[in-house]
Symmetry: C2
Subunit: 339 residues, 2 copies
DNA sequence: TTGAAAGCGTTACCAT
DNA sequence: ATGGTAACGCTTTCAA
């Protein structure tokens, strides 16, 4: 900056005002000099140092996104991808960069989100411990969370699927087919997550409302032998509602391997209704969760909070945003086997 | 920092040395005081400001990844996901964050990669203009590129699939099935990319070596009517080699719509051999490009360059790294229709 | 072993 | 309209 200032014959301040485009009203530079400054800056290939700028302005135009296990990224896990799509579609047009930060994602050091590098944080970890909870509520920057059911986090805006509504549709669909004994299938990791519990309870409530027996809970670890039970005539359940499409795909594979035919012997339902559902045999009935829309809306809300803070305005009081889910009926559900 | 220093009764320097973990040898702090400093820092919930730290050290522990069209992210485009997986698997354990920067990705402002926010850049845009070329070669930070065939970029390390080897396998497979008249199918965007041209030429060379006629070039825009030609008896080509799996999937759809049966009427080959290939009907024969491995290796190389620069060592002279591809034969290729 | 002080590159206040 | 100057929070050299 000093080189430019010297070359043009002005102070560094003038250069700053012209090139930062901060619209500083207290200081103005004549159009001629401004043009000359821009010209020299180009000649000298001047690149503003963002670190210095951020240090001074306390704004980085960078937002952190926190996932749980990033290694799970892949076509079987369209979730991450949908989130990334939603986030970037909101972030990029606004000129914000998105960063995936190992200190938070891998090391679990949630406090590092307040280290000055981020204007805001989008928290997409479905599971979080007390330490991250403290970090979130005492964060120096706006935080928006996804997949946290209403009433669990106070003071942090939340974007979540309407699990109750979704499960009501699931139960209605199954009941209309003739099912009565259903179970919720979940993996050991998700069962500990907030949304895992929420969906399980939602299914239970929906079943209760529909007047069918309380759904079972199957935590599916490495040992899938439990599935053999569903091949028997006195199988405890005739329909399995899975926490995710991936898990449902897993169940389908296991069924196939064990000679259990879907949906003749048992019905299977997934969650997310990703393109993955189109590729399974049979095609997977699944709850359609608008993850990309949710992520986009969450990101836009985060941006507005950042904006509020920046201007000293009170933050928007929005607490929780619930998203309707639809049930995409495909071929993995059908009437239960006659006895 | 000053608060901590005052509370403990030392200077800010002592705090810095203890908490930054920079292993400063010129200065040492007694273990007792060091412990006390750490303790007070915790009590005061001290969070080091990364911007200030970066401003001083000129290191951010952040790496930028540049894609072409991020909006294409999705299950049909496993490419981006594979790259992200490879990149993060190398970056995160090393403590580096990954950022997707709109100024480069959307606005195309390649010069912003030298704005001090990144220790290095992984360039994954298959297409690049002269301006970005200048930005890349004059970048203040190490840059590593993917998908640039050997000999095209000097001074910038490159990680690329062995397109020649891949196309040799493709041609061998097709010839062994009895094909002689083949064509390369590509979209209007990729045809202008470096790797698009490289693959086209690779196919041509491989065909020449195998002694079959020079392959045709089909640029598939919105108008897919060209495919109708392949339904006729005197079809010009009996096999289509596509630039990407997505494009091949598109071709399969068009064939289906037009009553062209694959592989009876025509053989189709994709590129990437993503999981997408398992979901198509018929399952897609495709070149298996180890994108995640390439991305991981490219990232590791970038990290080593950063390391070299940091220590003032000469940069590794590695210029180009070529990756073997395999042909995954599935059901979209078969003998050509008898006349 | 410790403290004082000089920057890092930028922005913004307060004078002229 | 313009120029000096003090921060921003941290690291690091130098002197004690």
């Amino acid at each position: 900056m000093k080189d430019i200032a010297d070359a043009v014959g002005v102070s560094t301040m003038a250069v700053s005002v012209v090139l930062s485009g901060s619209g500083n009203q207290k200081v103005s530079v004549s159009p001629a000099k401004a043009e000359r400054i821009r010209q020299v800056a180009k000649e000298l290939r001047y690149r503003p140092n963002q670190n210095a700028r951020s240090l001074k302005t306390r704004r980085t135009n960078q937002v952190a996104v926190v996932f749980q296990h990033f290694s799970e990224l892949g076509p079987e896990h369209p979730y991450h991808i949908q989130v990334l799509n939603g986030v970037t579609s909101a972030l990029f047009p606004a000129g914000y960069a998105m960063t995936l930060c190992p200190r938070i994602i891998i090391d679990g050091d949630a406090f590092s989100m307040s280290d000055g590098r981020f204007d805001g944080v989008l928290w997409c970890r479905p599971e979080f411990d007390s330490e991250s909870l403290e970090a979130i509520s005492s964060a120096g920057v706006p935080v928006v969370m996804m997949h946290v059911p209403p009433g669990l986090m106070s003071g942090v805006p939340t974007f979540c699927a309407d699990n109750d509504g979704a499960m009501r549709q699931v139960v209605q669909h199954l009941v209309s087919l003739g099912h009565e004994r259903i179970a919720f299938v979940i993996d050991p990791v998700s069962v500990k997550s907030v949304e895992g519990g929420a969906r399980n309870h939602a299914l239970t409530r929906a079943a209760q409302q529909a007047g069918i027996p309380k759904p079972g809970l199957v935590v599916l670890g490495r040992d899938h032998s439990i599935l053999t039970r569903y091949a028997e005539k006195d199988a405890p359940h005739t329909a399995l509602v899975c926490f995710s499409d991936e898990l449902a795909g897993f169940v389908l594979q296991s069924c196939d391997r064990m000679g259990v035919e879907v949906p003749r012997d048992i019905s299977v339902i997934g969650f997310d209704s990703s393109k993955f559902c189109e590729g399974t045999k049979p095609r997977l009935t699944s709850v359609n969760q608008p993850v990309d829309r949710m992520a986009q809306a969450a990101t836009n809300h985060l941006l507005s909070l950042i904006h509020d803070d920046e201007r000293g305005l009170p933050r928007s009081p929005m607490a929780c945003c619930l998203y309707d889910c639809a049930l995409d009926v495909r071929e993995s559900t059908g009437p239960p086997r006659a006895h």
